[in-house]
Every structure is written in structure tokens, then in C-alpha cells.
């Protein structure tokens, strides 16, 4: 406080002195970006404390004492200029945007950090890269754009959750999701709803995002140490800037199409196959005809259940934002509406979002920031993943083509009860209500007080609150639910997720070369999840679906779970002359999930950087703009396990004779503590030829130790597993990123962005000296191994399917020891390639995304590739089956049920279901036309763009299913919801 007073006195004194012998300089400051005046620019007489600020019209007037000849103009987001006054009395200044402007800053709840100073491995995507792409959540935007980050869309449900893995998979049973921090609010990823996958991150409109930063190594993430083991994703939303109010409107319409569907048989093809299967199994072929029809019957009904289940749908995205502000207050206000269908009936997504980001500076010291966002999401979900007969991705393909979908009067026909539990999938998908509605806010309030130019205090509180209502109604019009008179289940979930931190930031430069900066603070986080559910059946009319109409209340349920986390942290940085940097972070966190004696863990990191390009010996190398080497080491934590995983729990489990039953539901472990990831990183950043080539390469190793491992117990103990800290997983790899401007020729410009990640995953150890857990984990191999018996084709002599036994001899029966390790579901490489071409007002962006080196298992082959052994419709390719001795074909003799006395069933697990899961996908093509401003300004529009774009336009893969991307993650590969193709056109207008 004393210093502040002193400063004020000094300013007064300076003014007083200035009266004697000064000259007055006036002028206007504009921004080169839009030629608009900039209010609030600080104008200082260099070497003095004399200063002023520009007014609303960008004008200033300043008294400059004799002897002073330089004016300094500075403003956040614009590059500081120093101008020699000379003899002038009027100095107009045009200020350029700062190269170190917003996107170069990493804005965290702890304060801002210049990216140039960061010695950790960090990558970013700017909002403009994914602006106006019809993707509902920002995690999708990272796909293929950032080295070291693998993003897989595991469901085609619009608005659905994704799987994001930063630098491999380190944890076996604890979560592998990165920590997402949206404007400082720590938001858990995943699916919010029950009836449809609703991405917890879809509450943020991607068009509101200024930039996404991914902190990949411990040095970058250690300040978030408690939960940074899987990497950290920082999302910064847009904020307003001083100046005229800007309005941006974007409207987009398009279609959603299936990506490619399985080709299944016509009714006569299937009937012929089944007839042979019955004959071969010694069954009555007449029975096949009763069920599947007579293949020779010219009047055999041939229905395409696939056509009735899948098709094109609409997508619409509307987005409006208004931003602006004055010297004290800036704002960003936005609203959006998305309505997107999908490739399958009754699966769609609607979302409305609203956001207000405000910054207010009541005085020079205090800054108040707030972000308030509200999102409403409504999804009708198709049953996704799993061998369920009421999933369109299962029954849509397996339903028999000789069964009509409709009665003659147009009502739905009951499907025969001997297949798919009598479920007519088209009726089921149309009439079963699977509605999920979510209201979510991710909001925060931040106060920043600048005590002195080098010391500030930040208080931050953030909230992620979501309320989700799932309604499931199974009306009595569907045969399976007729007996019960229909059934309704309602589930209400409420998630409250709060974090707050309070910290000091300091930043001081000594002798013009030594910069010391740092943070000291503490953080608290809590998350509570509540659930209430109720079920009833017996509705007088299928139109009625609310539980008060139910004749019989069936069940009720409710649950509550929560965790709390507390941490203190400190960070110190040192920079010498922009050449040498060193960075130390230390953090200590306690978590309620762990045993009371071992709750606290200590995390930290150290890193150093050397900017070679700032050294005098490289001063003369004109083509070198920036060259820096970095090295880091650190330890971060992971606690993504169920909230009470360390406790032995006795829970209630239903009833017997009307009384509640109790049982031990979980074995606890008092010693359960943090999983740790130890990361080494060596990186190189380079910029060459005036920014024509920008590259970053990182060599890294991440050892995940003391894994939160659900270690198996002998089942005969009564428990299948207990969570222990055991095992070690090593991920290591290279992240490489290259941005080049290849050609600039007149109006034509071609630039390329390429990134690749090469990685290796290995399970180093398990627990108690075990070298494997069944066929699910093997020491010395990557996680997610495939251990299967090779399918050896068809015995030409008798048409029976053969396998290779452990000695590589042909066998009909798979024994315990026959399966062997064949590869892993984890890719060894992934990345993306984007090319931008610009010719005048026209630009084209072509973006590919790929992954390589993973195997993929397709369980749909059990149902659809059994060569007629089951009741399901079959792939068309199954027609090439063994018919007589000597036939060399890939599909065996059809055999009803596939079950042969003593042998293994044809649909047993083998390499028949396995294929190469690598793919290259043409992810995005956007053609944009920027309407010449001279034209648009005539109707009052500063800038207008017209664009057409396509997503998921083409895929190259050897995968034997529909979508290698959706298949590449998740627990079941049955009936996955494939991603869709989207083609849209739109305009955006800037006022």
C-alpha cells in the first residue's frame, strides 16, 4: 500500500515538474486489424512515470518533458511500440496485434502464462481451425490436429462422448481421460446420460472457444499435478476486446449420411443358405423353409430392414455472437442452436447454448472475470454397442428379410418370437422413447488483484453443474412389453462439480535480464453425483408414459457419491535474457478416495530450456527465427477410480421375502493411494525462414507406476478383484509437428500442417510376480492385447472350419492353450495432415486423420458371419461357402446351430473376427469463399463468408467392419454406432 501511495505522489510530482518545460504531443491510436481507434492504450514517456491513456475515440494528449524523446504505446493483445518523437507534435500510431497475443497465452485459473516461457511439452489448436465445423464438442476438434493426442469418436450418436488419450494409455483400471479445464473449471469427461451418449464437454459451444492447449508432459501439467497423469486440456473461451461492438452470425444446413453399411442377404439368398445348413446338420430342410422361406419361391417377401433402419438426416447449426467493450469492461455474448439427426431412425440431438464472458476492471488493480455458460441438450438415443436385440445396429442387420415390417394396414407387425425376442426393430426404434435431456452450466468467477506490478493475487471459483433426466418408455404397442402393459423408467441425475483456488503470482525482472516468476496457492475440488430413479408398468394407453399413469410401481432407486480433493502448489520460474529458462513445480494433494493414512501425494516437475536463437553466435543466421531445446522431468498423479474404492462396503442388494438384503459389495484396501506417472521429455522448437517453417519435436517416456489396479483375486474367495497399487506401464514415443507455408505466389498460397506420433506401449509388470491376467493382460506386451486362436480356413475335404492349435497343427476344437498373442488394440502411430490452399477470396482446406498399427476385433461377425449357423441374416459374402469336397473357399459348410458334438462352434472366438484396424480418413474438406468487403460493406456487412464442407468423406482401411474409428475404443465391438458422413453449407457474417 505504501508503494502505491508513493507512486501516486511521484506521478503528481512529475506532472508538477512538467508544467515548466514541456511540449504537448497529441494523436490517435488505431488498430491495424480493423483500422478502428483503440481506447485505453497506455501512452508513456519512456524513462519517466509520465503517462496517459487514449480516450474512447483513441485520442490522447501528453506532456513530454524536455530531454525525453520516446513515447511508448502499450495495450494488452497489441504489440508495444516505441516511437521517436523528433520534431513532431502529432503522432498517430497504428498498432499491430501482438504476436504473443491471446492464443500465445495459456490462461489458467491460476493466472496467465506466456507460452514462450513454457518449458513443458504443450500443443494448441486455435478456435478458428474448427470454427463452424458441425462438431458438437471441442474434443472432436483435437482429432488429428495435435501430436501426441489420440481422439477416437467411439459413437456416431450426435453429441456423443469421445475417447481422448494423451501420450498413450498408462492406466489399466483407473481412468485414462485427461483433465479438462474450461476457463479454469475442472470438468470430468465422459457420458452424462443413460439413454443416449451425451458428451459432458458438449455443453460448451465449440465456436465460443478461442483456443485449446494440451499439456502433455509433467513439466507442463505438474501445476495440476493431482490429476495430470493423463495430460491436461485447457480450453479458453473468447473474451471481448475494447472497441466497436462486433457481431458474428453463422448459419449452416446440411445432411448426415451413413458412412457405409453392412451388405446383408436378400430373403432368397438367406433361405438357400439356411436350407443347406439344415440339410448339413441332419435337420428337416422344410423347417428352414418355414422360417426363412423357400428360396425358389418367386413371391418370397424381400424386405430391407437395413433401409428401414438407416438413412439420411438433417443437420442445422446457428450461431450468433456479440463482443466488444470499453476501457473498463469487455464482454463476449453468444448463443447457438444445433439440431442434428443421425443415420439411424430416432437418434438425434438438439442443443442450445448461451454464454456471457465479462471482464471488468474497476481500477488499475482489480480485474473481475466471469464466464457464465448454459447449455440445454436433448438426445434421442439409439442403443449403442452391445449385442442387444433392440439395438438397430444389431437387429437392423440381423432381422430376417422374409419378415414384413408392417401389416397391410400399415401398423407394425410383430416379429416372430423365435428370433430377436420377437422384437420388430423398426417398431422398437420408432416407438420406444429413449430421451435424455441435460441442462449444464460451466461457469466461473475470478478476481485478480494486482498489488504491485510484480505481485498479484487471484481468487477463482468454478462450477460445472449438470442436471440430466433420462426417460425411457417401452409402450405396450411393442409385443415384448404388451404383457406388462408398457413400462416406463425415469432417471434423474445431478452432478455438482466445484473447484476453487487462491494463489499469488509474481513476476519480476532484474537488471533487465533475470526474470523470476511463480505461483503459490491452494486448491479445493469436490464432486458430488446424485441419482434418483423410478420404474412403473401397466399403462391404460400406450400414449401415457408418465409414472403416475402406471398401474404398478416397480422399483425405485437413489444413490449419492462424492469425493473431495485438496492441494497446495507452488511454481518458480527463472528466465535469463530470454535464453535460459528453468522451471520448478511442487504440489501436494490429498484425495478422499484413498486410505486415510495415505491420502496425500507429492507431485512435481523440473524443466530447463535454452533458446539457441537468442545467443549471439546465432544472431547472424537470418533464416533462423527461433530455436530452442527443452528438457523436463516430473511426476503427476491419477485418482480416477470409484469414489469409495478403498473401503470395504456392505450394500443393500434387493429383497427377499419383502425384507432388504445386505451383502459385502466390495473388498477394501486401506493402503490404496495415488497412481503416479513419471514423465521424461526432451523437446525442440524451431521457426525458420520468417515463419515459413514451424516445427516441434518431442521425445518422451511416461512410466505409470503404482497403478490403481483391479487385481484379480481367486474367484473362489468370493470376490473377483481388489483395487491395489500395483503394476507398471511404460509409454514412450515421439511427437512431431510441422507447419509449413509451401508456396506463396501472388494470390495463391499453399500451406501444410502435419503431425505424427510414434508410440510404444508396454506392460512392464503386474502384481505378486504374475506374468499375465488371463488373456487380458500380458507382461511384456502392450495393453489391450489380442490373444486368439488363428482361424485356419475350411478343410476342403469336409467343409469344416479349422483352427491352428498351440503346435500350429490343424484342429476343429480350440483348447485352453491354443490362443496366442497377435497384437494390440493400441495404435503405434497416429496423426493428421492438413493442406490449405488459398487463391484470393477462395480457400480450400483438406484434412486427413489416421492411425496405424492396431488390430481391431469385430464382434458383429458372430452374428452376421456364421455362414448360416444362426437365425440371423448374414453378410452377402457368406454365400461363397463350401459345397463339395475339393472346394477351396473361405467360408465353411453351412451347419445349422454351428454346434457340432464335441467340437468348437464355428462362431467361436478366433482370428476370423480380427483385422487390421489402421485407417486413413478424409476427415474434413472445407471450401470457403470470402465475399469481397467492397461488396458486403454495401449492405452493411464488414465481412461475409460462404462455405461448403464435408466431414468423414472417405476412409482407407482393411478393417472388416463399418467404422474402424468407432471400433478402436470401447469394451464391446458388438453393434457399434458408426460415425456418419456430414455434408453442409453455410454462411457467416461479421458486422
Amino acid at each position: 500500500m505504501r508503494k502505491v501511495l508513493l507512486l501516486g505522489v511521484m506521478l503528481l510530482c512529475a506532472n508538477a515538474i512538467a508544467f515548466a518545460q514541456s511540449r504537448v504531443i497529441t494523436g490517435t491510436v488505431v488498430s491495424t486489424e480493423d483500422n478502428q481507434p483503440v481506447p485505453g492504450v497506455t501512452v508513456l514517456v519512456k524513462g519517466t512515470t509520465i503517462g496517459t491513456a487514449t480516450d474512447l475515440d483513441g485520442n490522447y494528449s501528453i506532456n513530454v518533458p524536455a530531454g525525453s524523446n520516446v513515447l511508448s504505446f502499450s495495450f494488452i493483445g497489441l504489440s508495444t511500440q516505441e516511437i521517436n518523437i523528433g520534431n513532431r507534435t502529432t503522432i498517430d500510431v497504428a498498432m499491430d496485434p501482438d504476436v504473443r497475443s491471446l492464443s500465445e497465452f495459456v490462461i489458467t485459473s491460476y493466472g496467465d502464462q506466456s507460452k514462450r516461457e513454457i518449458t513443458g511439452a504443450i500443443s494448441s489448436v486455435k478456435g478458428e481451425v474448427f470454427q463452424d465445423l458441425p462438431m458438437q464438442s471441442f474434443d472432436r476438434a483435437m482429432q488429428g490436429r495435435i501430436a501426441g493426442v489420440q481422439v477416437a469418436s467411439s459413437t456416431g450418436q450426435p453429441g456423443g462422448a469421445l475417447t481422448v488419450r494423451i501420450r498413450g494409455v498408462g492406466s489399466v483400471n483407473a481412468g485414462n481421460d485427461p483433465l479438462y479445464i474450461i476457463d479454469g473449471v475442472q470438468v470430468p469427461a465422459g457420458n452424462l446420460a443413460g439413454n443416449a451418449s451425451q458428451n459432458a464437454l458438449a455443453g460448451i459451444n465449440p465456436n465460443d472457444i478461442e483456443s485449446i492447449e494440451v499439456l502433455k508432459d509433467a513439466a507442463a501439467g505438474a501445476i495440476y499435478g493431482a490429476q495430470a497423469a493423463n495430460g491436461v486440456v485447457l480450453i479458453t473461451t473468447k473474451r471481448g476486446t475494447r472497441g466497436t461492438t462486433k457481431v458474428r452470425l453463422s448459419v449452416q444446413e446440411g445432411v448426415v449420411k451413413p458412412l457405409g453399411l453392412y451388405e446383408v442377404m436378400s430373403s432368397s439368398q438367406l433361405a438357400g443358405l439356411k436350407r443347406d445348413a439344415f440339410i448339413n446338420a441332419g435337420r428337416n430342410p422344410g423347417d428352414a423353409a418355414t422360417v426363412f422361406g423357400n428360396p425358389e419361391d418367386p413371391n418370397l417377401i424381400n424386405n430391407s430392414w437395413v433401409d428401414a433402419t438407416f438413412g439420411d438426416d438433417r443437420l442445422s447449426v446457428y450461431d450468433l455472437s456479440v463482443s466488444g467493450g470499453d476501457e473498463k469492461t469487455t464482454f463476449f455474448l453468444s448463443g447457438s442452436y444445433t439440431d442434428q439427426g443421425s443415420q439411424v431412425i430416432k437418434s438425434d440431438y438438439q442443443r442450445g447454448t448461451a454464454r456471457l464472458n465479462l471482464t471488468h476492471r474497476p481500477n488499475q488493480k482489480l480485474t473481475i472475470n466471469t464466464s457464465v455458460s448454459l447449455a440445454y441438450q436433448e438426445s434421442n438415443g439409439a442403443i449403442d454397442r452391445g449385442n442387444f436385440i433392440n439395438s438397430p445396429f444389431q437387429a437392423g442387420f440381423t432381422a430376417r428379410p422374409n419378415i414384413p415390417i408392417y401389416n397391410e394396414d400399415g401398423t407394425f407387425r410383430d416379429y416372430p418370437s423365435d428370433h430377436l425376442f420377437g422384437y420388430n426393430i423398426v417398431q422398437g426404434a420408432e416407438q420406444e422413447l429413449r430421451l435424455a435431456r441435460t441442462v449444464q452450466t460451466v461457469s466461473n468467477l475470478q478476481l485478480n488483484y494486482q498489488f504491485t506490478p510484480w505481485l498479484s493475487f487471484t481468487s477463482f471459483a468454478g462450477l460445472d453443474f449438470s442436471d440430466i433426466k433420462d426417460e425411457n418408455n417401452r409402450p405396450s404397442t411393442i409385443a415384448a412389453f404388451r404383457g406388462a402393459g408398457g413400462n416406463s423408467t425415469n432417471v434423474d441425475r445431478r452432478n455438482t462439480n466445484f473447484n476453487t483456488n487462491h494463489n499469488f503470482n509474481f513476476n519480476k525482472k532484474f537488471n533487465n535480464v533475470h526474470t523470476v516468476s511463480g505461483i503459490v496457492g491452494f486448491e479445493f475440488k469436490s464432486e458430488a453425483r446424485e441419482l434418483t430413479s423410478a420404474q412403473g408398468q401397466g399403462f391404460a394407453n400406450p400414449i401415457l408414459r408418465y409414472l403416475n399413469n402406471a398401474a404398478t410401481p416397480l422399483s425405485v432407486g437413489s444413490s449419492f457419491t462424492e469425493y473431495k480433493r485438496l492441494g497446495i502448489f507452488g511454481q518458480a520460474k527463472y528466465d535469463y535474457d530470454d535464453r535460459y529458462t528453468a522451471d520448478f513445480t511442487l504440489r501436494r494433494d490429498g484425495h478422499s478416495r484413498f486410505g486415510s493414512e495415505v491420502r496425500f501425494g507429492t507431485f512435481g516437475a523440473a524443466s530447463v530450456g535454452w533458446r539457441l536463437s537468442s545467443e549471439s553466435f546465432l544472431e547472424d543466421v537470418t533464416w533462423l527465427d527461433n530455436l530452442r531445446v527443452r528438457a523436463s522431468y516430473g511426476i503427476t498423479g491419477n485418482s480416477l477410480i470409484p469414489d469409495f474404492a478403498s473401503a470395504t462396503l456392505v450394500g443393500s442388494t434387493g429383497q427377499y421375502l419383502g425384507s432388504p438384503a445386505l451383502r459385502v459389495t466390495q473388498l477394501g484396501n486401506d493402503l490404496l493411494t495415488w497412481e503416479e506417472a513419471e514423465t521424461f521429455n526432451i523437446g525442440l522448437d524451431g521457426t525458420f525462414f520468417n515463419g515459413r517453417i514451424i516445427t516441434t519435436v518431442d521425445f518422451w517416456r511416461k512410466n505409470s507406476t503404482a497403478l490403481l489396479f483391479d487385481t484379480p483375486l481367486p474367484v473362489d474367495s468370493g470376490f473377483g478383484e481388489i483395487t491395489r497399487n500395483a503394476g507398471e506401464v511404460r509409454n514412450q514415443g515421439i511427437d512431431f509437428d510441422l507447419q509449413t507455408v509451401n508456396i506463396i505466389a501472388g494470390k495463391f498460397q499453399w500451406s501444410t500442417g502435419f503431425n505424427i506420433t510414434l508410440l510404444e506401449n508396454e506392460l512392464m509388470s503386474l502384481f505378486d510376480g504374475q506374468d499375465r491376467i488371463g488373456n487380458a493382460l500380458i507382461v511384456g506386451k502392450p495393453l489391450s492385447p489380442y490373444v486368439l486362436t488363428p482361424y485356419a480356413g475350411v478343410n476342403p475335404a469336409n467343409g469344416r472350419p479349422m483352427y491352428l492349435d498351440e503346435n500350429n497343427e490343424y484342429t476343429y476344437t480350440i483348447r485352453d492353450d491354443d490362443p496366442r498373442y497377435l497384437g494390440s488394440a493400441l495404435p503405434t502411430s497416429y496423426g493428421g495432415l492438413s493442406n490449405s490452399f488459398r487463391y484470393g477470396a477462395l480457400s480450400l482446406e483438406v484434412f486427413f486423420q489416421y492411425q496405424y498399427g492396431n488390430l481391431a476385433f469385430n464382434a458383429d461377425i458372430y452374428n452376421l458371419g456364421g455362414t448360416g449357423s444362426g437365425p440371423n441374416n448374414q453378410f452377402v459374402n457368406q454365400l461363397e461357402y463350401w459345397k463339395q469336397p475339393g472346394d477351396l473357399v473361405s467360408h465353411p459348410m453351412p451347419y445349422e446351430s454351428g454346434a457340432r458334438p464335441g467340437g468348437s462352434n464355428y462362431v467361436s472366438q478366433s482370428t476370423r473376427q480380427l483385422s487390421d484396424g489402421s485407417y486413413i480418413r478424409l476427415k474434413q474438406v472445407t471450401l470457403n469463399f470470402a465475399v469481397p468487403p467492397t461488396l458486403s460493406q454495401r449492405i452493411g456487412i464488414a465481412q461475409a463468408n460462404v462455405f461448403v464442407q464435408g466431414l468423414n468423406l472417405a476412409t482407407i482401411t482393411k478393417f472388416n467392419g463399418i467404422d474402424p474409428e468407432a471400433n478402436s475404443v470401447g469394451t464391446s465391438s458388438f453393434a457399434t454406432f458408426p460415425n456418419s458422413q456430414q455434408i453442409s453449407a453455410g454462411i457467416n457474417l461479421n458486422f
Partner: protein, 484 residues
């Protein structure tokens, strides 16, 4: 600067003192073992959980009732939904899995119930509470349920004592103390069949000593009773080849249950079938009760006995029929044939039969599952007496039962013909109640399959179920059954 430092120091101190308290979070919908099991009523809750497990679809709710019929010669699969098609042809590994069924990792398989029982037996004596009758009952129930599970495990995974093939006498892993922490879940080897049978015997003797009686056909049979324990022990002795004890226990059980040697106490002939649609079944010594809330919306149609075996409820699956072999074996006038109704099944041209035992008479496929029925006591005693050389006594027991099934007394029959008659009575009496495969197996008989399927010799490896590979790989002390 001083103020700032002061703030930081105070803040840090506050933080440090607050730490431990702030992080204390209680699981609001669960208890700790200490709080749950400090009194008898907590253990009673655990006993109810054991019964809940008995009705699991992977146990008596479905598998233990159906699979032994399909693995043998009683049941024909009339629609290929993928279920039981392997069991019908005795495909490799198509057997009964009691070891690690259910997808709930933390709590699966038969041993979860055994652990419930172990917790009760270990701790209930020290629990507070004044209801000594309840304490005794719960403890007796734990002994009974543990015996039931071990008996089922033993007959699925091992040979009966004296019936070993190639000297293979490995049975299942024995655990009689609770697993409540990591260290008690040690890796154990399989005990021998005799060791397991001895444990079962000891448990049932304990149970018989403390369980209350239950009137036949009363609601008390929904929990274990003295007669139920005696009946189970009689069955165990029969499997074990200890025929004198089997006879004695069967007689004791009959006395406890109020059953006369002439069959009085069993349902009359005209009520044989309707008894299965009465809850509890008037012949039940032990029956597991099921309510609608125990099932998810689709469990009835997906998993119930009724949906699989009967066409009584519209929308049911009806994938099982009596085999022709079974239907043709019924004697003229046997009321038990009425347990089947001729029916039709699209896609299956031969004659098919829908079960009248499992008609879902509680509505929406729902019904209880009788696990021990009184008529078995007569059949156990008849077989035990026959094997002990008392053919007249055996015939008397068969005739007592036959008098309640509208069948005339047997004429002169002896030797193997009498043995065949005993097995036949069992086959028709317990059709679709999960006995047939085990009746053939414990007597060392080959399975002469229906539908012209190849005979499965008693010596074939497929008679025993395989242990799950994951368990074998985890525990090197655990040996797989031969042939897998």
C-alpha cells in the same frame, strides 16, 4: 509485503489444520462390515442375500434347472437362439458354469454365496441381539446354503466319490472362513471329492441341529428348514454311495416333514401339475421365492424358465421342448405326462411339447422355483435301498410315489430292471427340474442322446465342466479338468 506474508502464513496454517477433516467423505448408501454385522439382524440381511443369489438365472433361476436336462436326453432345442444349442450336442465347453458366472466382477459365481455363508458362520455367535431363535436360524441357513453350493459345485466340476474316471478325484476349492480382506484370498488348490463331500456332510449335520422345522407347503419353505437340510443330506449320501445313510436321512426327513411311508403327504395325482402353479408348491421342502422387483423389465421374457420352456405367455421364447424320447418313456396313465402339452413351433416340424410346470403362474413369466421336493425322498430311499440290496423296500417306496401319480403298484421287478425303473421314475418325476444329467453321471452311465446324436460316454472329458481359463492362469495351484 508483510500483510501478504501474513495472509499466506495464516492461510497455510488454516489449510493444514483443515486438511484431514475436509477429506473425510462417507459412502452414504453403504455400511462398513463393522456397522452392518454388529447384530443378528445384520446377519439376517446377509442370509436374505444368500437366498437372493439362489434365484440367479445362472443358478436355480434357470441354468441349474435347464442345463442338466439339455446336457442329458430330456430336452430338445426347438429354436436356435444360440441358447443351449451347445449343451444339446455336448459341444466342447458347453456345460454349466458355476465358477465365475455374472458380469459383476467384484461378486460373482457360486463362491460369492459361500462367502456370505462363511461370514455368517464366522461372526454371528459374537453379534449382539437377543433373538436367539433368529441367530440359530440364520446360522443354520448359512450351513445349509454353503452345503447346497458346495454340492452343486462338486457335481458340476468333479466326479462323485467312487465314480472317478482315470482316478481324477479333484473337486473344488474349499473355503470355510470368510474373505473380508486381501490376505485371506489366498491361492488354493482343489480339494478332493471326498474332502468336499465331508465338508458338505458336516455342514448339513450342523444345519439339521439348529434349523427350525417348516410345514410342508407353508411359507416357511422359502427359507431353509430342518427337513430341507435332511433331504439335501440324503441326496448327498446317495451321490456319495453311502446308501445306508441316504436311506436313514431320507426317512428322517420324511418324519420331519410329516410324510408317511405310503406317500401320504404328497399331493394327489390330480394335483401333480397344478402344484407347480401353486406358491409354494405343496410338495416343496425348499423353494426360492421370486418377485417382480427382482427382475429387470425384460428378464421375464429373456431369462425366465417359463419363457424358455412354455408357450403359456404370449411373447415367450419357447425354445425348449420335451424330447420325444422323454415323452415316449411315460407309462400309460402317468399324470406326470400332463406336465407337457403338445404344441407347435414355427420352424420346427416335429412334435413339440410345452411345459406346464413353468407357466409363469404369478404373472408376466413369474413363478417360484422349488429346489427340494418331497417326492425326491421316496426316490432317494428307493434307490438307496435298492443299492443296499433291499429290493422290496425300494419297490415299496416307488409304489408309495406311484400311488400319488395315478399309477398302479409295480409287479414283480428286480435287479437291473428295478434300477432302470427307479431311474425312470426320477426322470419323469423331475422332468425340467435339473436332475437328469446328474442322475446319469453319478451312476456312471453313458448319455444316450435324443435326436440320433452320438452317445456321450461316461468316460468322455465333456462330462465334467471346464474351470474358467482366467482362474487357471491366475492360480498355478488350480488344475484344469482333463481334456480342456
Amino acid at each position: 509485503m508483510k500483510n501478504i506474508l501474513k495472509t499466506m502464513i495464516i492461510g497455510g496454517a488454516l489449510l493444514a489444520s483443515a486438511c484431514s477433516d475436509v477429506l473425510d467423505v462417507e459412502p452414504r448408501q453403504s455400511l462398513t462390515p463393522a456397522s452392518a454385522f454388529d447384530n443378528v439382524s445384520g446377519y439376517n440381511g446377509l442370509a436374505l442375500s444368500m437366498y437372493g443369489r439362489v434365484r440367479d438365472f445362472n443358478y436355480y433361476g434357470q441354468t441349474m434347472m435347464i442345463a442338466p436336462e439339455v446336457l442329458a436326453d430330456n430336452v430338445l432345442i426347438i429354436a436356435n437362439t444360440g441358447r443351449y444349442i451347445g449343451e444339446e450336442v455336448n459341444e466342447d465347453r458347453s456345460h454349466i458354469n458355476l465358477w465365475d458366472f455374472s458380469g459383476v466382477n467384484s461378486n460373482r459365481g457360486a463362491y460369492a454365496a459361500i462367502n456370505d455363508a462363511n461370514i455368517i458362520i464366522d461372526g454371528i455367535d459374537e453379534a449382539t441381539g437377543t433373538d436367539e431363535a433368529l441367530r440359530a436360524q440364520v446360522k443354520g441357513e448359512a450351513y445349509f446354503i454353503r452345503a447346497l453350493y458346495y454340492f452343486d459345485l462338486a457335481r458340476v466340476y468333479g466326479y462323485e466319490p467312487g465314480q472317478e474316471v482315470g482316478g481324477w478325484d479333484k473337486s473344488v476349492v474349499l473355503r470355510t472362513t470368510p474373505t473380508l480382506n486381501f490376505s485371506s484370498a489366498d491361492l488354493r488348490a482343489r480339494s478332493t471329492n471326498v474332502e468336499v463331500y465331508q465338508q458338505i456332510e458336516a455342514d448339513l449335520i450342523q444345519a439339521i441341529g439348529i434349523l427350525p422345522p417348516a410345514a410342508l407347503g407353508s411359507a416357511d419353505v422359502y427359507r431353509a428348514s430342518k427337513a430341507a437340510a435332511q433331504a439335501l443330506l440324503a441326496r448327498v449320501y446317495l451321490y456319495w454311495g453311502r446308501n445306508d445313510r441316504a436311506e436313514a436321512l431320507a426317512s428322517e426327513a420324511m418324519t420331519t416333514a410329516g410324510l408317511a411311508d405310503d406317500g401320504t403327504g404328497l399331493v394327489t395325482a390330480e394335483n401333480y401339475v397344478s402344484a407347480f402353479n401353486t406358491f409354494p408348491n405343496p410338495e416343496s421342502l425348499f423353494e426360492v421365492e421370486i418377485r417382480q422387483v427382482d427382475w429387470s423389465t425384460v428378464d421375464g421374457v429373456n431369462n425366465s424358465m417359463s419363457s424358455l420352456s412354455s408357450d403359456a405367455t404370449a411373447g415367450g421364447q419357447f425354445i425348449l421342448s420335451a424330447s420325444l424320447d422323454l415323452i415316449e418313456s411315460y407309462e400309460e396313465g402317468d399324470v406326470r405326462l400332463a406336465a407337457w402339452s403338445p404344441s407347435t413351433r414355427a420352424g420346427f416340424s416335429g412334435p413339440v411339447y410345452s411345459s406346464n410346470k413353468w407357466r409363469g403362474a404369478k404373472g408376466q413369466f413369474l413363478e417360484n422355483i422349488p429346489i427340494l421336493r418331497a417326492s425326491e425322498l421316496y426316490l432317494i430311499r428307493a434307490e438307496a435301498r435298492f443299492k443296499a440290496g433291499n429290493e422290496a423296500g425300494a419297490i415299496a417306496d416307488l409304489n408309495a410315489l406311484r400311488s400319488k401319480r395315478a399309477l398302479p403298484a409295480l409287479g414283480s421287478v428286480s435287479g437291473n430292471a428295478l434300477f432302470e425303473q427307479i431311474l425312470h421314475e426320477r426322470r419323469v418325476e423331475f422332468a425340467l427340474e435339473g436332475h437328469r444329467f446328474f442322475d446319469l453321471k453319478r451312476n456312471g452311465l453313458d448319455i444316450r442322446k435324443h435326436r440320433n446324436l452320438p452317445v456321450v460316454p461316461y468316460s468322455d472329458y465333456r462330462i465334467l465342466a471346464n474351470l474358467p481359463l482366467t482362474s487357471i492362469q491366475l492360480n498355478e495351484n488350480l488344475e484344469q479338468n482333463p481334456g480342456y
